[in-house]
């Protein structure tokens, strides 16, 4: 009997390992539910339409960044509506098939595969988290499909290739802006917390370089594992060097846990500076983030008034996040490029986009793409969280 037990014990150990390996991807890698079962809040068609020009989009409609993903979809819907009111593209209606990435790279790639092979989309817009956008862009590049990044900021995106474009500025500028903003406010020591993915690494690198150059000191750098339910150990480490300010960036619902636990641990008595403040506060309990300052993309350019009005009219509220304008601009840019190319062939569209993108007036301001297809000037703002709203910081 003892041998039998030993065998059973060994078998259990093996099974435990197998389960861990199977679930090692974290996030939504346990994705079994098919696309059709995902809720689509706005009732937007997820099918490609006959006789229309069909584009694709991969957005985090569920998962930690679902709040932002839903807002990104609003930008797309508004752009499609406006384009079709003005006669569509190539004399046909424009349609954008929106798929859910579940906030995970594996599902984002599945969604992209479907958009490319089933819907024949020449252009795919996505995603939000750099950890998903980079593999998505690389996949599309290999498939020869145009990729537009409307929400990620990792510098790695610039290296994807000639089919990849961004309507949002990358962290090479965001990290520097943050470092300057933090230091100007008199915080000479900072603890830094970001997700352990290409976004987090990118922003840490550029922040650190600039902050140390102007005389700041980083007391601790923590790269947290995404999708945890508990961040107390990370927060304890973060507080150890007694920094003047906590500089952090985290995705919606992960940020909610971090803010809650920091509040419980009494860490919110010190100033917190959020990188992309709308992202770090969108899902957090109000009391836990009151008074936080942070930077964010300045989401409305000089020509963005009509977009802002259309958004308010359609959804009856102010912008839910700062990111809908970038998906709006992505669709607008794609439509204009297709029109200019005179065809929806990806190769032609990419060539046209490089031309159109040199000087494009979007809802989020002037967009001028560099030779890597990346937005060169990105306006940022320093904001403060007050009673549920983000207001310009004093």
């Amino acid at each position: 009997m003892r041998d039998l037990k030993r065998t059973a014990t060994a078998a259990l150990g093996t099974a435990a390992l197998a389960t861990l390996a199977a679930c090692g991807g974290g996030g939504g890698s346990a994705s079994v539910g098919d696309d059709e079962s995902s809720p689509t809040a706005s009732g937007e068609s997820k099918e490609s339409k006959q006789g229309a020009v069909n584009l694709g989009a991969v957005l985090p409609l569920t998962g930690a960044s679902a709040t932002i993903g839903e807002d990104q979809r609003r930008g797309i819907d508004l752009a499609v509506e406006q384009i079709n009111e003005n006669g569509g593209v190539l004399g046909k209606d424009l349609n954008v098939v929106v798929e859910d990435s579940q906030g995970a790279a594996a599902s984002a790639l599945d969604a992209a595969r479907k958009l490319v092979s089933v819907d024949n989309a020449p252009v795919v817009i996505g995603e939000y988290s750099s950890g998903n956008t980079v593999p998505l862009g690389q996949f599309l590049q290999r498939q020869g499909i145009v990729h537009i990044n409307p929400g990620s900021s990792s510098p790695e995106i610039a290296d994807i290739g000639d089919m990849s474009f961004s309507t949002i500025g990358l962290d090479t500028i965001a990290g520097q802006f943050t470092a300057d903003a933090v230091y100007e406010r008199g915080y000479e020591t900072a603890a830094f917390l970001v997700p352990n993915n290409s976004y987090g690494e990118g922003v840490l690198k550029t922040f650190k370089q600039q902050y140390e150059e102007i005389g700041g000191e980083i007391t601790s750098e923590i790269l947290y594992t995404e999708g945890q339910s508990d961040y107390r150990s990370e927060l304890q480490r973060l507080a150890e060097g007694d920094p003047a300010v906590f500089v952090y960036s985290a995705y919606g619902q992960e940020s909610a846990i971090i803010n809650k636990q920091a509040f419980e641990m009494g860490l919110s008595d010190k100033p917190w500076f959020g990188i992309y403040l709308s992202m770090t506060t969108s899902d957090s309990d109000q009391a836990t983030v009151e008074g936080q300052i942070g930077m964010d993309v300045n989401y409305i350019g000089p020509d963005g008034q009509s977009y802002e009005e259309a958004y308010k009219e359609e959804y009856g509220e102010d912008f839910a996040s700062t990111f809908s304008g970038y998906t709006y601009d992505a669709v607008m840019l794609a439509a204009e490029s297709i029109e200019m190319a005179g065809s929806a062939e990806p190769e032609e569209v990419a060539k046209a986009m490089a031309e159109v993108g040199k000087d494009f007036s979007g809802a989020t301001g002037e967009i001028s793409l560099d030779e890597d297809g990346q937005r060169t000037d990105q306006p940022y703002a320093v904001l403060e969280y007050q009673g549920g709203d983000l207001v310009p910081a004093p």
Partner: protein
């Protein structure tokens, strides 16, 4: 140091509640129920569902979630595992792995993949001796300790408890001496499922309930059960406590300074490896468990 003790106490409470049931059902039904760890998120999600759907208070919702999970545990055993274990315990183990995946997928379909908090007020923690403990954590430790003591009192002092111990020691002999082993197994699966669900609810109160909760629990819980000796609930509580202390202590030690160098801590991501190392060591050196109770069984 205080902080290490507090964190360990919370962790040990949550691990023990799940580990006791796995050890118990393994001892009684002679197979390792991988799906057992999924009863923790299942219970927490059901509690959340009852709270949201019927606008119940958290306490009532949690009790309903715990009872429902206990029933699901019984149903799964009677409809599924009981048949598989007749083939062999390895078959039942693989079957429970499948059930585990189905539970996770079911939760994801119903509740989505994002972690969710239980509706509790967010209050600043209580500071003492340089450490911080939240009110929720105090409640977690109190509830877990009470339930664990009640469980062992029941196991040691009541007639049903004695029957359970008899079935664990030798099911055939127990049957022959007039114990209704089928009924006893049903009791065991109900109590085990309920305790795992309670562990999940407490863990969710302390942090959040997430899809990964069960998977993340699997390694430390299995490690605790094997370290404690299969079929020895008391051993698994002791092992869970040891694991919890080691997990927290190892993150708190500045190894760099100890060796006379710069401040160097073990990277946080490595804490998951501690259960792993413990499991491997025990399986290599003393597969019957470090507390050795396992050898008592036939």
């Amino acid at each position: 140091m205080f902080q290490v003790l507090i964190d360990s106490a919370v962790r040990a409470s949550e691990l023990s509640l799940v580990a006791i049931g796995l050890s118990l059902t393994w001892g009684v039904a002679k197979f390792a129920n991988i799906a057992h760890v999924q009863y923790a998120p299942l219970g927490a999600y059901l509690a959340l569902l009852f709270v949201n759907m019927f606008a119940l208070g958290l306490v009532v919702g949690a009790i309903m979630g715990i009872l429902a999970t206990g029933l699901i545990g019984v149903l799964l055993y009677r409809a599924f595992f009981r048949r598989l274990v007749r083939a062999s315990s390895a078959t039942a183990l693989i079957g429970s792995l499948a059930i585990s995946i189905v539970i996770t997928a079911g939760i994801q379909t119903a509740a989505g993949p994002s972690p969710r908090p239980l509706p509790l007020p967010i209050l600043p923690g209580i500071a003492f001796g340089g450490a911080i403990i939240t009110r929720t954590q105090l409640i977690v430790i109190a509830i877990a300790t009470t339930v664990i003591i009640m469980f062992f009192a029941g196991l040691m002092l009541t007639k049903v408890g004695r029957s359970i111990r008899c079935v664990m020691a030798n099911a055939d002999l127990a049957e022959a001496s007039g114990i209704d082993t089928a009924r006893i197994k049903t009791h065991v699966f109900f109590v085990s499922g309920g305790m795992a669900a309670l562990g999940g609810v407490l863990l969710a109160m302390d942090t959040t309930v997430s899809l990964e909760m069960g998977t993340v629990l699997l390694l430390p819980v299995v490690a605790a059960v094997i370290m404690g000796g299969v079929g020895s609930p008391l051993g698994s509580v002791a092992a869970a406590a040891i694991l919890a202390v080691v997990e927290n202590l190892i993150l708190d030690i500045d190894f760099g300074s100890l060796l006379g160098g710069e401040t160097t801590y073990v990277p946080l991501n490595y804490s998951a490896a501690i259960g792993f190392v413990a499991l491997i060591l025990v399986m290599l050196l003393k597969p019957q468990g470090i507390f050795g109770f396992g050898g008592r069984r036939a």
